[in-house]
């Protein structure tokens, strides 16, 4: 990596964290625009439901088949499959797949929207009207995204598990009770709590990174395209990195 690229990345991280700090300050700034927050939540949450449902269902299907295949190959038995898949889904797969989908679904559209406002000078217009763009645009999206991502994480863990159970029942002849028993043996309530925390963290970084790239956008149509692309990449990297950090943290907790 050459120096200008590195300098630009550092500048990006700095401007994103400064936006995060400024947005956090708005927590104290009442009144919250609840109507906006609810509209945003339903748009992000309900709007993403079809794609999240479809893709997490598929990933539940695949992971069950894959793990069963591996066990059969090495141990010549699939007896341990329920506990194994259950834990893997609850701790990893059911969380990271929806998060990565939300990066493109919610994150990209947020950046596209804000950078379009920026290049068509709507954001300058807001400032001239005495409206704070961070309070008006970023804060409601942040709250909405935290709520909807946390909720969607739990939802997609449930869908992935349901699909995994369905495959285990039909293809590998486990009964539902057997599967749930094995799951109860290994999975604690804390795992669900960790999933919720991961979801909330992803829900925080996605809108902040997206808005930050949107505000930094320059130039016309080309600028909007570049901002959106960079935001998607940065959010994906951030999600993967934070997933690692949180996994590490929870391993030692």
């Amino acid at each position: 990596m050459n120096q200008p690229v590195l300098a630009e990345q550092i500048h990006r991280v700095a401007s994103t964290s400064s936006l995060f700090r400024k947005t956090l300050l708005k927590f104290a700034d009442s009144p919250w625009r609840w109507k906006e927050i609810f509209a945003s939540t339903s748009q992000m949450g309900v709007g993403s439901l079809p794609i999240i449902t479809l893709s997490t269902a598929f990933s539940g299907l695949v992971v069950t088949n894959e793990i069963a295949w591996h066990m059969d190959k090495v141990l010549h038995t699939v007896d341990m499959m329920p506990g194994f898949t259950g834990q893997f889904i609850l701790r990893e797969l059911g969380i990271v797949i929806p998060a990565l989908l939300l990066v493109s679904k919610v994150g990209a559209s947020t950046t596209a929207e804000i950078s379009t406002m920026k290049v068509t000078e709507q954001i300058d217009a807001l400032k001239l009207l005495g409206i704070d763009p961070i309070k008006y645009l970023v804060f409601p999206r942040l709250i909405a995204s935290i709520i909807s991502t946390a909720a969607l994480t739990i939802y997609s863990v449930a869908i992935t598990l349901a699909c995994a159970i369905a495959v285990a029942t039909f293809r590998y002849h486990f009964s539902v009770a057997e599967y749930l028993n094995a799951l109860r043996h290994f999975v604690t309530f804390a795992d669900l709590f960790y999933a919720l925390i991961k979801g909330a963290v992803f829900g925080t970084v996605i809108p902040i990174i997206s808005c930050s790239y949107g505000f930094e956008c320059k130039g016309g149509a080309e600028g909007v395209g570049n901002a959106t692309t960079n935001a998607v990449v940065a959010s994906t990297i951030a999600v993967i990195f934070l997933d690692f950090a949180l996994t590490l943290l929870f391993t030692y907790l």
Binding site: V46, L54, S109, A112, G225, T229, V233, I237, F244
Partner: protein
């Protein structure tokens, strides 16, 4: 709720059909016109160069996440000796291509959609057409082929780095030395694992190339239109990759378990 499902199904199939038609046009152009190898090579090197550091970075962490997760589960069964094999096999066959191609959806897919979308809304594509050049041949074909090839290259690089990352993390955090890690790899993987990884990379690369070219080429309506094209490209690439992942997940095993004995029997 029912309305939402019907609406999104309709949109999904409409979009999917249009992309198939678009790919048919591209393929027809590839076969009916003289290719420009130089343009394709230039695209490959620019796409790969742009993305390789990001892919490497993500690869390390994907490997690290999986090692931590698998280790935690395997300890409960006293199966730590399988960690290396299970992790390598999972990275190469399944999770590696999936997670890394999510990154390519942004790095290559969104980028291409943005580039072509900008050219469309600033009338550059119309200008090319009016100057008597076929924009599909001039713009789309080199990008399409280059994206497929460089996706395979990048995914393979990403997978290798993921495995390296897994070894590193298991050495530093879990105190498993690399030899121990590598000892069980042979039990889990064979040539079909590698073939499966490369095949999946090619399929995902084709998805990234086709969807991003389509969304960019058909963008309309100024800056807003470019934003919409990029967003749609990212969303649809991810969705199609997950669907393709399901369809191809056990294909190689199916071929090995069913087709090979069948051919042997027939022989």
């Amino acid at each position: 709720m029912r309305e939402l499902i019907v609406k999104s199904m309709n949109r999904f199939f409409h979009e999917f059909g249009s992309i198939c038609l678009f790919v048919a046009t591209i393929v027809k152009t590839v076969f009916c016109t003289r290719g420009n190898a130089q343009a394709i090579l230039a695209q490959i090197s620019s796409v790969s160069y742009r993305s390789v550091s990001t892919v490497a970075f993500a690869g390390i962490f994907v490997g690290a996440i999986l090692v931590l997760q698998f280790h935690r589960i395997l300890v409960q069964y006293d199966g730590e000796i399988f960690l290396g094999g299970l992790n390598t096999s999972a990275v190469v066959r399944e999770v590696g291509p999936l997670l890394i191609s999510f990154l390519l959806a942004g790095k290559i897919g969104a980028f291409t959609a943005a580039e072509l979308g900008t050219m469309r809304v600033t009338e550059q594509i119309d200008a090319i057409q009016c100057l008597g050049t076929n924009p599909i041949q001039y713009l789309i074909v080199p990008r399409w082929i280059a994206i497929i090839i460089s996706s395979v290259i990048l995914l393979v690089i990403g997978l290798v780095i993921s495995i390296g990352g897994s070894m590193l993390v298991s050495n530093i955090l879990l105190d498993i030395n690399p030899l121990q890690f590598a000892s069980s790899i042979g039990q889990f993987t064979d040539l079909s694992t590698v073939a499966s990884g490369i095949f999946k990379s090619a399929v995902y690369g084709t998805i990234v190339a086709s969807v991003s070219c389509y969304e960019g080429y058909t963008a309309s309506g100024g800056a807003r239109g470019v934003g919409k094209a990029v967003t749609q490209a990212a969303v649809y690439i991810n969705l199609y990759i997950i669907i393709a992942n399901t369809l191809t997940s056990n294909m190689f095993e199916f071929l090995q378990d069913v087709l090979v004995p069948f051919i042997k029997g027939a022989w």
